[in-house]
Amino acid sequence: ARRGTGTEDVGKTDTGDGKEKYRGLKDKRLELKKNHQKEELKKEVDLEDHKLSIKELERKYGTNIVTGLSSTQAAELLARNGPNALTPPKETPEIVKFPQADGAILCWIAYGIQYFNDKSSSLDSVYLGCVLALVVILTGIFAYYQEAKSTNIMASFSKMIPQQALVIRDSEKKTVPAEQLVVGDIVEIKGGDKIPADIRLLSTQGCKVDNSSLTGNLTPSLRTHDNPLEAENPWNKMSTSPVGTATGMVINTGDRTIIGQIASLASGVGHEKTPIAIEIEHFVHIVAGVAVSIGILFFIIAVSMKYYVLDSIIFLIGIIVANVPEGLLATVTVTLSLTAKRMAKKNCLVKNLEAVETLGSTSIICSDKTGTLTQNRMTVAHLWFDNQIFVADTSEDHSIFDQSSGTWASLSKIITLCNRAEFRPGQESVPIMKKVVVGDASETALLKFSEVILGDVMEIRKRNRKVAEIPFNSTNKFQLSIHETDDPSDKRFLMVMKGAPERVLEKCSTIMVNGQEQPLDDSTAEAFHTAYMELGGLGERVLGFCHLYLPADKFPETYSFDVDTVNFPTSNLCFVGLLSMIDPPRSTVPDAVTKCRSAGIKVIMVTGDHPITAKAIAKSVGIISANSETVEDIAKRLNIPVEQVSKRDAKAAVVTGMELKDMSPEQLDELLTDYSEIVFARTSPQQKLIIVEGCQRQDAVVAVTGDGVNDSPALKKADIGIAMGIAGSDAAKNAADMVLLDDNFASIVTGVEEGRLIFDNLKKTIAYTLTKNIAELCPFLIYIIAGLPLPIGTITILFIDLGTDIIPSIALAYEKAESDIMNRKPRHKKKDRLVNAPLAIYSYLHIGLMQALGAFVVYFTVYAQEGFRPSALINLRVEWEKDSVNDLEDSYGQEWTQYQRKYLEWTGYTAFFVGIMIQQIADLIIRKTRRNSIFQQGLFRNKVIWVGIASQIIIALILSYGLGSVSALNFTMLRPQYWFVAVPHAILIWVYDEVRKLFIRLYPGSWWDKNMYY
């Protein structure tokens, strides 16, 4: 009798990968003993429950597999061990620091003191305090909003817990929330369920488990008892069971499950600061340094010039406010999210905004193979029969190889019949390649291959009724089935077999050539081995096929085959041919890899696959370029031992997980620097972490792709973790900063392009934003030193920073690249700063000073036209600000009351504001490019810039004419002619910058280029 379908299955071929990963995992754990959390993980996996018999288990957990736990026991355990849920990581609330908060408080204190001195003192300090407080609150809300958007791994882990579990308690089947499961519970799992906790299998019925979110291996594999470490009978929480039913005992709950351990490992790996965050911090340090040093310097000057300390504090606030680009945080965030949206359209879903730029500065990409570089589907690539290798390309016309041969007829029959995979019903209209198949990857490939070439496979199978079958298992390494033939006159049974080629060949005594059986001699065996090696060398998975017609006399139609006793011959078969399969690379990948290379990005492949397969794929996608060789290749070519090959000659290296395990960090560093093309094969997902750390030691910005739960530590550790949108597990997606919606490597390249563009554009934005700081700062300095009436008020400055300048600085994010940004090296983390000395100097001291000058011209014009000539303004401050002086004489003998002067001062503010605004328009236009002329870039290509300019003008108009009557805002209605005073200065700024760019283009590499290019 045949064994019922169920507890054994093909697909062991794929579990091999999984085992390797597990092995690597363990090795890695041993290495990292110093790491406490990893240590815990190690302990966890060393459980021995799978070795125990059911009786021992019952004893250990104090349960009964038939009656289950009693309710009281369960409640007790629940109280003792806590619910079966992952504890969310403790969130340390970030205390957001607000420099302006102190400013606001200082302002109110200042007002308080002023109020006690003089009850009628003006409310200016209060207004300033309010505005600063408002800025603080807005910034706070903004920061909070960003925080809220940031990822939380735990949130999704807990979502993965199934709501209900079927559990046997008090001899009854009960449905309880999965959270209430305790150790020792007996649970029943149906097909499609998620496993609620770590369980030890007690019995199964045709049940397989998809453990992909743990191992990254997508093939459902049956958990049997054969390998202790792989613990085939414990199932892990969060795995899903696609088919069948099973009963098991809960052995671990909550954080003690394997997934809980990995989750804590992932959250234990500190998320590195993104490069852009580092850059912004660097920028903040510069700005804060400038602000604080100038502020304190002038505080000292002010005090020594006998200003009141209170006044000096207000000056200090003014200087700091003038220096702090209040709008920059919002600008950067909006800029990044605009790019994120743009990238989302290109299938890069950015979860962490800052990661947008990180991708641009990436210098090493550690890429997965399966799914990312390849299509993640096995495809028949080659056939070998009649002593010839044929290329099978099912995507094109399949008449490429000779199908007339009788060997092919036999081979195709074996391929069709010796296959358990089936199409899921109800998809007749779906193209063959896209049909969903029930079966493992290799069988799927074979099924689709035969369906394409031969037509309706199911029909053929129906005509050749299966009478017996030995499914694949890892000991036999072959699969066998016995069929009736479709020839009614031929009463013989056909036995077909496929399996590992060497095993299949052992069982054969003849070989079919051109449809004729020939004895298998040494020369044909030699030919077989050559072909096998060749196909294997291509990294393809090779299967051998053979058949045997059982003689009708010995095996009549009524013969009962017994697969347990094997009452039929399994040797002296007729070898028919070889077939090899591969997961082909995606068509867009080679191009994308070339682009990465020209962009100076090193692409490293990290895979759990066999080194030969890995190398073959690496070669076909260009990760190992056509003309580079590994040490082994050179050794083979020169026919010398590997040790004698000079390592310098080899550009490429293929390193296996085992080799990696024995490497010291120094050796890994050496490996990473010496070779430009590296493939890591047979690595565990955990080893990815080591590789990432190694790359980061080289000061590289590392992008890592991954899909399994085990990848999540590496994804977190990487500067930018990229998860696969289709194949990726939720845990990986959560740990990642970016999700590739189409799992396509090429999408990373477009992401890199966007990331680089955003870095350039942020530079422009910051240059634009910094420029006006000088124009805002100079008034205070001159006010303190020369005693002019204050040219611009603090609130007015805030209106520039948070009003007129916001939309233009965002508009720069829409600027197109000036040159091919994919043809330059990735920026060096420590050398190519966002804000460098030339940028600061050019913005502050060149354009900034010009702008300050222009704004002062407007200011002086207004005062002069109103009667105060510039000479009269010098040292006027004390008289000007005295409330009791109400007949201050101007240059023309006119007399001014205090309120008139105040009004004129506000007019001065407005004039200065308008002066800066007009020049910021010019500044905006010149910032469109850093090297090219504006006319090369096109003045109108970026329409958003013009929206920005329009917004500037409109906001200024509203402030002056609309809100000119609100005295708290210190704006007045400015006479129209004053709006044009700064125009010549604006034009001067434009011309100046064009000249700068011209010299940069004319004399690249010169002193000018080095100091004027930012």
Binding site: S884, D887, G893, Q894, E895, Q900
Partner: protein, 311 residues
């Protein structure tokens, strides 16, 4: 030639609009006063709009004129001179108006100077009021009769003292003698009444270039108790007795050319004020179109101060 043509016109008003007067002596005061009132209400923007229209007009005129006279004189030179004038005097010779303007209504200020406008003194303690006397004396030095007679002209009262001619020509100033202030001149009573508890306070209007008080109608000064019992001040004497600012002191041409200009004053002699208590006093300008109730600027057309005389 051109300047002569221009000089027939009255000087423009500095706040953006201009009355063309065929003959300055035949000012239709009522008409103009009405206009003024209207104009007061106009926003600045509107005023500038008027200006622009005018500018176009002027340009046409200018072109014609230059065609007539333009032989031989290099235009650039004339332009340069014009620029010089504009630059130095902030005076637009085309529009005949000053570019520097402080406002459209009179502000007032008082002397002696007192911090936060509280006059607290004790009659029997000279130390408490001596600084007022010194301040007043100092302020009135420029009004000494001898100095005024020497420097300034005695011009006919009751009408504007309009002086045409080049913008950079020095203007004459009308005399305002210290003796006009009678009992508050400090000539007879060198303590300006402070020693007797009858303080003198001088009131002046802040100078505005080109601006004229209510077009032919002198501005009067009137003081009363601002809050509280009206009878706290039983009598005030004003000097000059008219309690007004004579028209002959206007317009003011600016200190560059109107060098010896002395602001006209009105002295308020508080001869009978309730003693030993703070009396808030409000002195207002009275006249057609005078604004004296602005909240923001407490010196527009009025001044509020406190008298607290102790005995």
């Amino acid at each position: 030639m051109r300047r002569q043509l221009r000089s027939r016109r009255a000087p423009a008003f500095p706040y953006g609009y201009r009355y063309r007067l065929d003959d300055q002596d035949e000012v239709n005061q009522n008409y103009l006063a009405d206009e003024e009132e209207e104009a007061e209400e106009e926003a600045r923007v509107m005023v500038v709009h008027d200006l622009e229209e005018e500018e176009e007009e002027e340009e046409k005129e200018e072109e014609e004129e230059e065609e007539e006279e333009g032989q031989g004189q290099p235009t650039s030179n004339a332009l340069w001179q014009k620029l010089q004038i504009v630059n130095e005097h902030l005076w637009d010779p085309e529009k005949r108006m000053s570019l520097a303007r402080t406002g459209q209504s009179w502000r007032v200020m008082i002397r002696p100077f007192a911090h936060s406008l509280n006059f607290n003194f004790n009659v029997s303690e000279p130390d408490t009021w001596q600084h007022y006397v010194i301040s007043l004396n100092g302020f009135l030095q420029g009004y000494n009769d001898s100095l005024q007679e020497e420097m300034n002209v005695d011009c006919p009262p009751g009408q504007y003292f309009i002086q045409d001619g080049n913008e950079d020509e020095d203007k004459k100033a009308c005399q305002f003698k210290r003796s006009f202030l009678k009992n508050c001149s400090g000539l007879e009573d060198p303590t300006f009444g402070y020693s007797t508890g009858q303080p003198c306070i001088l009131l002046k209007m802040n100078r505005i270039v080109g601006f004229r008080p209510e077009l032919g109608d002198p501005v009067k000064v009137s003081c009363k108790v601002q809050r509280g019992d009206e009878n706290d001040i039983r009598s005030i004497n004003y000097y000059p007795e008219s309690a007004s600012f004579d028209l002959r002191y206007y317009p003011y041409y600016g200190k560059l050319t109107h060098v010896n200009y002395t602001s006209p004053l009105v002295a308020m002699h508080f001869t009978d004020v309730v003693k030993n208590q703070a009396v808030p006093v409000q002195c207002q300008l009275k006249g057609k179109g005078i604004i004296n109730d602005v909240i923001n600027d407490r010196f527009v057309g009025r001044v509020i101060f406190t008298l607290n005389i102790e005995t």
